[in-house]
Structure formats: C-alpha cells, structure tokens
Symmetry: C2
Subunit: 120 residues, 2 copies
C-alpha cells in the first residue's frame, strides 16, 4: 500500500507548519504558482519554495509545468492516508470505551441481583 512509516512521518511533519497548512488550504481551491502561494505570507519566495518541496516529499502536492510557471496541485490521496491512520486508533479507542461501559453495566446488574438475594 501507499504509506509506510516514513511517509507518515513526513506527512504529519508537513502539516505541523502553519505556512504549509495555509498552502494546503489554498490549494484545496485549485492549483497555484509559487508566487501566488507566497503572496499571503511575509517570508521570501525561496522560503515558500522550500515549504513546497517539503509538501512534495510528503506526497501532499505535485508539480506540473506551464511555460516558466510550475503550478502546484494538491494530492488529496495523501490527506486521506493521514485521516486513515488517525481514525483507526480513534475507533479502537471508542470501542474500548464501549466495552468498558458494558462491563460496568454487567457489574452493576450483578450488584443489584445480589442485593435482591440478600433481602430475601
């Protein structure tokens, strides 16, 4: 399958930066060039270029070519593999809770039964 450990390392690390999250947010509306992506931020174009490289190595974005422009595209599949990882353990955790609740109810019922026995 797609995502090994290193892939997840890179993907989560990529989204740990607010500039890169901003880039992803912008790209969700459609492809954009480096200059367009750099515009909202108060950092150099080179810095933005580096951020895009980080996103690229994490598999979150891809590049195409259009004359001297190099548009950046979002790769939603990578986002999906991240939510897949998180949701897996979220669901296991929920299931544990459900079982704990069931156990407590069982104990509660046993206590009540015992009480009725005692009152006889």
């Amino acid at each position: 399958m797609t995502k090994d450990g290193i892939g997840l390392d890179r993907a989560f690390a990529a989204l740990a930066d607010p500039v890169r999250r901003g880039i992803i947010a912008r790209l969700s509306r459609g492809p954009a060039t480096v200059n367009e992506l750099a515009e909202p931020f108060e950092i150099s174009k080179q810095a933005v270029s580096k951020h895009i490289q980080v996103l690229g190595q994490a598999g979150l974005v891809t590049r195409t070519r259009d004359a001297q422009r190099r548009p950046v595209h979002l790769n939603a599949a990578a986002l999906e593999s991240m939510t897949a990882w998180i949701d897996r353990y979220r669901l296991i955790h929920e299931e544990q809770f459900r079982r704990l609740d069931a156990l407590l109810e069982t104990i509660d019922a046993a206590v009540k039964r015992q009480k009725r026995e005692d009152e006889k």
Copy 2:
C-alpha cells in the same frame, strides 16, 4: 472552539514521530504507565518520558496518578480536531473536482450541439 493554530502545530508535530505514533497506538487500547509504554522501544525511559510530555502539550494525552505510577490516557478529542482540519480541505478539493467535471460536461454538450448545427 478548542484548536487554535498552535494547537494544530503541536498536534501534527507530535504525530510526526514514529515513537509517539506507537505510543498513541498503544494507548488506544487503554491507559498505560511510562514503563509499559517504553518497553517496546530501544530508547531510555527518560526519552519516552519526553515524548509523553510532547504528546501532553499537544493535548493528545492526559495523566492521572495511581500511587507512584502516573498512567497516561489517550485524549481522542484531540485526534478528532486533526481529522476535522484535514477533512475540511479534502472535501473542498473534492467539490472543486465535482465542479470541474460539471464544467467539462457542459463544454462537451455545447460542442456536440454545435456539431449538429453545422451538419444541418
């Protein structure tokens, strides 16, 4: 609501490390002590303790007290806020795709109509 930018910074950074993901995976099955969490890894207990602090500052885990033990508990709500962020932009991206498809179909239909006109 709960998660500001810094919260997301910390949460994503926390999951960027395989040891910390391993800890989260373990905790999804239920609370555990530092020693239990450290056991599968070939690093010092102090290092694991640090990882747990990082997870704590990210809001992903909480601590309780049980005699000299300090069990660690998963906080699933923090995981949820991460998937919420990701899914938001995943869905916007999907919607953009849907609209693009619709546009292409419209163009296609127009071309065919034009063709019929020409053939009259």
